[in-house]
Symmetry: C2
Subunit: 174 residues, 2 copies
């Protein structure tokens, strides 16, 4: 059974929807994807580091559309490991796992990795939105479209824009 | 540079000293190593699962004697990754990282893995007190003596009983 690493923020967790709302709440300005396309999160939203460092933030994030059903299907055909570069923000760790338990109860604690370096992990496939994680991975790489990566074209990574596309790529048709 | 996985509980963190104290506080009975030798932690101390699930517990654990200096030396000669099977207890996660930051400030967040399955990690050497982690590791294995493993003799793992012994094994003499 192939092992697949599935990133949390920007793949399972729709963090951008929170960032747009929090930015509007703090500044009165409603940004659009066009305003921030190509910028990393902290560059696009000056409050981002503060928001993600706040206890409770990661419990409040909505799931990415289609991710619950999609991950359930992956979980029946692959050795799924849910992974997050979470140790950059120690106060996010417990929230992140409780969020997984709340929204993806079929993922056991044995399938979760919270770390600071994804290249430590042995796996065959990686789904991630950040090229910095995908570029150094030696297996099959799938880049999930998010505003920060939208202009990247000359990469070796397959691009998907939805969980339906992940299913089309990875789930066997019965 | 060889990568070395260093376990937290029972190698860097002297959890037994807390277990003896908490057991005495709750029951009035002071146990000795002889009383619990060969028993896993939860079997030796009926309160153990409750204690380690309590927020704050892992911030209060003393460091293993010699571990700060020892890990500092390893960190200058190896690619050190500090690892803990922490996702079994989600409310321990933030405490565990803050404890590392408090006591081993030379370990960066990029060197930390909190997970539910250590066999996911690529490494050359593993230091751990639990045979369940060491047995499936394909590299060099070093078993740190703790009361639960004290009677295990027929293993392929090198046994050490202190951080001084780890240094003797792994640090080049200058």
């Amino acid at each position: 059974m192939k092992r697949i690493l599935v990133d949390m923020d920007g793949v399972l967790a729709d963090v951008y929807s929170c960032f747009f709302d929090l930015h509007e709440k703090e500044t009165g300005e409603r940004l659009s994807v066009a305003n921030i396309a190509g910028k990393l999160e902290a560059e696009a939203f000056p409050g981002q580091i503060r928001w993600v460092s706040t206890p409770g933030f990661f419990r409040s994030v909505p799931v990415m559309p289609g991710s619950v059903e999609g991950l359930k299907k992956l979980n029946s055909e692959y050795d799924v490991v849910v992974i997050s570069m979470a140790t950059e923000f120690p106060r996010s760790l417990t929230d992140k796992q409780l969020w997984i338990n709340d929204n993806f109860p079929f993922i056991s604690w044995k399938q979760l990795v919270l770390c600071g370096n994804k290249s430590l992990i042995k796996a065959d496939i990686m789904i991630d939105d950040h090229p910095k994680n995908l570029d150094s991975f030696t297996g099959e790489t799938i880049m999930f479209s998010q505003p920060h990566n939208i202009f990247l074209r000359d990469t070796k990574h397959k691009r998907v824009s939805s969980w339906e596309e992940i299913e089309s790529l990875l789930i066997k048709k019965s």
